[in-house]
């Protein structure tokens, strides 16, 4: 008797399993799911795309905002259809990803946030001073270098506490890329990367960790993507660009930086628009492109091509209210050429 029971149960389980497989199979033929992972920076933009993409092509988009590093790892392991990263792939990462291309698909900025009680928002700051702060050479808020940039502001004699990302982050790449460009000393000593050897300060995980670290530390200073800074009402600097003007990390400033019209690197599509030359008077100097990384051979090649083409064209119109500036024409041309390589 007990044996009979077991047999019946096994049959039942098998039947249910078969049924489930059949349902899944039919579901798959009806619509396509594109999965992606990576940058938290572009996550709000992708969230805006889900709806229109569904009604345009019937695709459903699933995106996990696990950080740029995680996105690169996921697409390298082919566990997702595309990865998203704010920092361009390094040569080793390109090699590991085997036949991946990166396409610039969104454009935004990094805000330098601070926590000073009783001091107004949009204090002035420049790259050279910022580099000295993060190198531990300027340690007080009333340092002459900061005072000189903010005439008439009563700066406290508080200790500066720097907060940086402890995980590998595209935001760190953008920030240190800017510091390296603005300060030769920073470039030779620490350089740029998704993670660098910070001489001072504390590290926190993710934008949320840095924001929490700064907002809980009187005298704190850190960096997060601009949408995050605005959403959480953090104070941030107006940054001096090469022309001497102070720009805020708004759409105008980002557009000003994108106007620098740098050509993407012909083999990697890498673009850097930090600290653009003097003639770009409106530029916010800590602006960055962010990339989508896709394998050139994919079982969903046709769908990916359609999705990416939509993303770099119509998809861009969802950007501005989230502080993403639509990508410029010259970059669009390159992006489309690269998308055509996916087969």
């Amino acid at each position: 008797m007990p044996k009979l029971g077991t047999v019946t149960r096994t049959t039942l389980v098998a039947a249910i399993a078969a049924l489930a497989t059949a349902t899944a199979a039919t579901a798959r033929t009806h619509d396509t799911t594109l999965t992606g992972a990576g940058s938290t920076f572009v996550a709000p933009l992708l969230a805006q795309w889900i709806q229109p993409l569904g009604s345009a092509y019937g695709y459903s988009l699933q995106y996990s905002a696990i950080g740029s590093g995680g996105g690169i790892a996921a697409v390298t392991g082919r566990t997702v259809d595309f990865g998203a990263s704010d920092a361009p792939l390094t040569p080793d990462q390109f090699a590991a990803c085997k036949g991946c291309v990166q396409i610039p698909w969104a454009l935004s900025a990094t805000a330098i946030i601070y926590n000073l009680d009783g001091v107004k928002n949009l204090l002035h700051m420049n790259g050279a001073t910022l580099a000295k702060i993060f190198a531990g050479q300027i340690t007080k808020w009333n340092d002459p270098a900061i005072k000189k940039l903010n005439k008439g502001v009563d700066l406290p004699g508080q200790q500066i506490a720097t907060v940086h990302r402890s995980d590998n982050s595209g935001t760190t790449y953008n920030f240190t890329d800017f510091l390296s460009s603005a300060s030769p000393a920073w470039k030779s000593k620490y350089g740029k990367g998704v993670s660098v050897n910070w001489p001072v300060g504390t590290g926190q995980r993710g934008s949320s960790g840095v924001a929490a670290g700064v907002s809980q530390t009187p005298g704190g200073i850190g960096y997060v993507d601009v949408a995050y800074a605005l959403k959480n009402h953090l104070k941030y600097f107006a940054m001096q660009n090469r022309s001497g003007k102070f720009a805020t990390p708004g759409l105008k400033g980002i557009l000003g930086a994108a106007a620098a019209q740098v050509k993407p690197d012909p083999t990697t599509n890498e673009l850097s628009i930090v600290d653009p030359p003097t003639k770009f008077k409106l530029a916010y100097p800590v602006s960055t492109f962010t990339y989508v990384i896709v394998p050139t051979s994919s079982p969903k090649a046709a769908e990916l091509r359609k999705f990416l083409f939509w993303a770099v064209t119509r998809g861009q119109s969802y950007g501005p209210r989230l502080l993403f500036q639509p990508i410029p024409k010259s970059v669009l041309v390159v992006a489309e050429k690269t998308i055509a390589k996916i087969k």
């Binding site: 696990i66 950080g67 740029s68 590093g69 995680g70 996105g71 690169i72 790892a73 990263s85 390094t90 080793d92 990462q93 590991a96 200790q159 506490a161 907060v163 402890s166 995980d167 590998n168 620490y190 350089g191 740029k192 990367g193 998704v194 993670s195 660098v196 050897n197 910070w198 300060g201 504390t202 590290g203 926190q204 995980r205 960790g209 929490a212 670290g213 809980q216 530390t217 005298g219 704190g220």
Partner: protein, 326 residues
């Protein structure tokens, strides 16, 4: 004939069951060994590029620079951070945990025992990422504003108690978080051990006119001693391996700083922070090398634990020890 055959049949079935048990249990044990073997093999294979580049020096070199062109890696500061955080956390947690266990078995009124035991055990069930979050938002600022300045002004002449951290993320915060995490492990095992002390022994001691404290000190604690040591080692293992919560509160600083109030990093938290999106092969290999060191470190701890337990058992006499562990 029939009657003679049926016992043989059942006999055979009995043997088949035995064989099946042998097979299943053996396969399970083998699978466990194979998994450990595979992990060790993978870790060693993965860290080979770093082992080739740095050799054994890696273990004590204090450096970690992942920037292309400036790359240099070493485990020194993380090994130091792991040792300091886990040992100090154990030092804080052990007396607390034994106190909790004694309270629950010997002192608490009966109606309190159930709820308090359940609460202490709930502490063990809180996901580490949640404890870490609480560490950033609540514990860190409290320690920074109240505890660290007090310790610094009272004991500042000892280099361990330097000026308070600015952000609330420090080695000290990590130690307190780890203390909270290992407390329920040590206390619930100790509680079981204390409950296992034979009633006759307790009653005998009390009948001889001992106070409750003398009974605890003279009977309960010695009886459970080697078991408590084992529980502490389990807690230490947890503290050494904890990655996420530590990475949230320790401040991720490379270098050896004697003050508990400065930032630091541990082997586990460094791996958790940096593994995703490692930019170069050498960096990824070095992170796996950190994992290898962590593996060896834990193994040494385990061996030490077994040695302590055995030594305790010998001192105590085998009989009582068997009782304590059972």
């Amino acid at each position: 004939m029939q009657a003679a055959e049926s016992p043989r049949l059942s006999d055979r079935r009995f043997r088949a069951g035995d064989a099946a048990l042998q097979l299943v249990a053996g396969a399970a044990a083998l699978a466990a060994c194979v998994v450990v073997g595979l992990i060790v093999w993978k870790v060693i294979a993965g860290s080979l590029p770093s082992i080739r580049a740095y050799g054994v020096h890696f273990v004590w070199r204090v450096a970690w620079n992942p920037v292309l062109g400036h790359e240099v890696y070493g485990a020194g500061s993380f090994l130091f951070g792991t040792a300091v955080t886990s040992l100090v956390a154990l030092l804080l947690a052990a007396p607390l945990a034994i106190g909790v266990a004694l309270f629950l078995t010997e002192l608490a009124p009966r109606f309190l025992r159930g709820p308090v035991t359940a609460l202490v055990e709930t502490l063990a069930a809180i996901p580490s990422v949640v404890i870490g979050l609480w560490g950033i938002l609540v514990l860190g600022p409290v320690l920074r504003d109240h505890v660290e300045p007090a310790l610094h002004s009272a004991l500042g002449f000892i280099p361990l108690f330097g000026p308070a951290s600015s952000s609330g993320s420090s080695v000290f915060t990590a130690i307190v978080v780890l203390t909270i995490m290992i407390l329920p492990i040590v206390s619930s095992i100790s509680r079981e051990l204390f409950l296992g002390v034979p009633r006759e022994l307790r009653e005998g001691a009390l009948a001889l006119g001992t106070t409750r404290w003398e009974m605890v000190r003279g009977v309960v604690l010695p009886y459970a001693r080697s078991g408590i040591a084992a529980a502490m080692i389990l807690g230490l293992g947890r503290a050494i391996g904890e990655a996420i919560a530590v990475s949230q509160v320790i401040g991720s600083v490379v270098g050896i700083h004697w003050s508990l109030f400065s930032g630091g990093d541990t082997l586990g938290s460094k791996i958790a922070e940096s593994y995703q999106g490692g930019t170069t092969k050498l960096q990824v290999a070095s992170l796996i090398y950190l994992g290898l060191i962590l593996l060896v470190f834990s193994l040494l701890m385990n061996v030490a634990a077994q040695w302590i337990v055995r030594r305790g058992a010998r001192r105590q006499g085998v009989g009582t020890n068997r009782g304590a562990l059972g």
